[in-house]
Symmetry: C2
Subunit: 222 residues, 2 copies
């Protein structure tokens, strides 16, 4: 049985929940409240020395970093692949995913925003500009790449690693009120993806550790 | 023939140069001076919409993002692999690489330091603390993981994707005078890797676009 160490609002954890859902893999949640520093306990640090989420455990294997976890899932459970077969196509999907995972999200996660506030005395309007700026720079490029390569999803007609990263980043943009008018293709694809159970069940508000005031009930199955 | 769009001092370009060198793949340099914004010309943006380096071109394929480029090289030129064969091992190597590529480097590259200075009015001592902080947080974890899994190199006895990311990050740490005393294993492995031609020829000071005052001649072959 897989255990996913995560947090409802961590967008990196959200990516992995989508990948697990798309592949229909059962797993157990282990939650670590990032606001109270639960990811820095000795027990968790012994497992995952960065003290970040997500980390995946399965039968002795311990894997951190969301992209590494999703690649591992794709190698171990090759059905419903997250990457196309052709190396050139795989490279495009990986580079889309990494625009989000390397050039947007690392600049905007909680530990970085806390450093801006506490060490650089950034005001809230400056933090808000900082967040919006990196989302926009990344999405400017991603909108172009997705227009070049999309079908129903970011690359072709099947959900991929790119969508596992895009949809949580759209969620974060909405959470921080970053305008998305300039990215109609990204929004269209996110809206379509969110109709799939693999994406909708991974949403932060559907997670067992989400606070009641955010909780969204699962839609009844029709 | 492969063209690598890069810049001598870009550590993400440096990673790809190492991967190309380890696989003994010939390539042509196309340099874009990041200090003067040469990576934002219309011609380069048409090729690579993020306007960042590195981007690799080969026979119609255009790939951005250093991790995506290195995975593509490994799939297209499988000799001298950059990843082990077992999925659990591959995941460990990828997560080591991503500690550098997702959690250290994106916070310290030129566009981010410029934003700290210009938009948050950060003083130089604050910028220096910012740089050191993310290197130390990442290396604290990487030192532990590398001790668990290393042989001669970061994972086992062969250079891997993890070393392609580690060695340029050690270079950056030295450049910014970040102390490395707490990371003897990482330094030991970097010193060993730098004895290999694949690593030494990729060094910033050996690149044709490095300014003369930094240039280091190639060692004569013995």
């Amino acid at each position: 049985m897989i255990t996913l160490h995560g947090y409802w609002r961590s967008t990196a954890s959200y990516r992995v929940r989508i990948a697990l859902g798309l592949k229909n893999i059962d797993y157990r949640h282990a939650t670590h409240d990032l606001r109270t520093g639960e990811q820095k306990t000795d027990a968790y640090l012994a497992l995952s020395p960065q003290g970040l989420v997500p980390t995946l455990e399965e039968d002795g294997a311990v894997i951190s970093q969301s992209l590494a976890i999703m690649e591992w899932l794709d190698e171990r459970w090759p059905k419903r692949p997250l990457l196309p077969r052709d190396p050139d196509d795989r490279a495009v999907v990986r580079s889309m995913a990494q625009i989000v995972a390397c050039d947007i999200h690392p600049l905007n996660n909680l530990r970085v925003l806390t450093a801006l506030r506490e060490e650089l005395n950034a005001r809230e309007d400056q933090v808000q500009n900082w967040i919006g700026r990196w989302i926009q720079e990344g999405f400017d490029a991603l909108e172009i790449l997705v227009r070049r390569h999309s079908g129903l999803y970011s690359f072709g007609d099947d959900p991929s690693l790119a969508d596992c990263c895009l949809i949580p980043q759209i969620y974060a943009a909405n959470r921080f009120s970053v305008p998305l008018d300039a990215y109609p293709k990204l929004v269209e694809i996110a809206d379509r993806a969110n109709l799939l159970e693999g994406f909708s069940r991974a949403a932060p508000e559907r997670q067992p550790d989400s606070p009641k005031e955010f909780r969204r009930p699962r839609k009844p199955r029709s």
